[in-house]
Amino acid sequence: MPEHDVFVPSGVVEILAVMKQHPDSLLVAGATSIMASATGRSAALSPVVVSLERAQELKAISRTDRFVEFGAMTTLSELLSLRKGTVPSILKERAAGIGTFTVRNLATLGGALSCATRFRDVFAPLACLDALAEFRTPQGSSWVNVNRLAGENGRPVIRPGSLLTRIRIPADEWDFAISRRYGLDGYESERNAVLSCVCRMNKHTISEIRIAEAGAELVRSREAETMLIGRKLPLAERDKDAALEAYAGRCAALGLSGVRTARFLGVLRTLFECLDRGEE
């Protein structure tokens, strides 16, 4: 039977101390990803495991006029149980689509943001809401826009030696918000992705728009978003084509396959049609 050192710290300071002492330790939140990807009766773990289960600071949920803030250990069920209007609908919708309620009783928001292999379903809504993630190290803390959790190749970037403690979501009002998942339901696949979009309008003119697609990679183009700002709805065909061209350029820069790019652009065209009709 392989021996593991399992630490169950009761607070963030203690967690950071263990991480400093054991730089190769595995931080475990809900453990759903680790267990679901394992085969057989047990999962292979690092020799040193740090369970975040008992850190109450990581479970706090708070709300101000400007934002709602979740401790990284907030389970998806806890997020979904908040009353209407507390959490942006596109985030709730995607969280509700993850696993079953018995899985959501275990899976955490922080865990969903810390997956090294791909972006989980809640990532795209968080990216287009410009959510912030707080990372703590023994030296201090820093807030990072979740869009920066993607590297230059669009793949997830894990920040070694730092602990994700809180996720802050701005409480902005949006006139249009949509999030759709496509790919194989219930299975983890390279082909699964989520497209999310939020938009603010002023007299049928786009005053703010954010579009993010997250799957194996995160696709977001500020250039294309800027091109769409100031355009009247319904969008002219040339405006759509210009935005799609900018997104195609972004996909090429990320090195996405032709099939993946074509699918993304197809879904994006449908999104523009929904935007024209105001259909969420």
Partner: protein
């Protein structure tokens, strides 16, 4: 590692690998086979147990996570009044889950009634969808859980709601 926890109301401990599935731990060390780990990925829902009062897939819970926790399996839940209410409700509605999903259905029914003593159809269907077994119709499920909720309400409060 040695994991110590409360299992069906009793303090227990066992030697386990840190990453061992709770479903495996329960069956191999304690002979509790009510939680059947079939898919090992949280998809089938047949291994549901109550962890700290909440239904979870025991195949997704590593052994180290149950240290100090309270686990209730169908074997322990079967000794409660809620279990009798649920079984009476299922019988009254003519709902008979199959041998593969019965324990999970009962535990999920108890969680539904805990969440809302008068659950609506959508809550029942959404929560029961955690178990992927095609042995029954949604209408039978709804009738079974509603009947169980009524019986439980009558027992706890002395009357059933409108």
């Amino acid at each position: 590692m040695t994991v110590s926890f409360i299992l069906n109301g009793e303090d227990v401990s066992a030697e386990a690998e840190a990453g061992e599935r709770l479903s495996s731990l329960l069956s191999s060390r304690f002979g509790l086979r009510g939680a059947r780990g079939d898919c090992l990925s949280g998809l089938c829902g047949r291994c549901i147990v109550l962890l700290g009062g909440k239904p979870v897939n025991s195949c997704l819970v590593p052994a180290f996570r149950v240290q100090g926790a309270e686990i209730v399996t169908i074997e322990g839940f079967g000794r409660t009044d809620d279990y009798r209410d649920i079984m009476a409700g299922f019988r009254k509605a003519g709902f008979e889950p199959c041998g593969f999903c019965d324990s999970a259905r009962v535990l999920v029914a108890s969680a539904i009634m805990e969440e809302d003593p008068r659950p609506d159809d959508s809550l029942i269907v959404e929560r029961m969808s955690a178990i992927s077994c095609r042995c029954t119709q949604p209408s039978a499920l709804i009738a079974g859980v509603r009947a169980a909720a009524e019986i439980r309400e009558r027992r706890v409060f002395g009357h059933a709601g409108a």
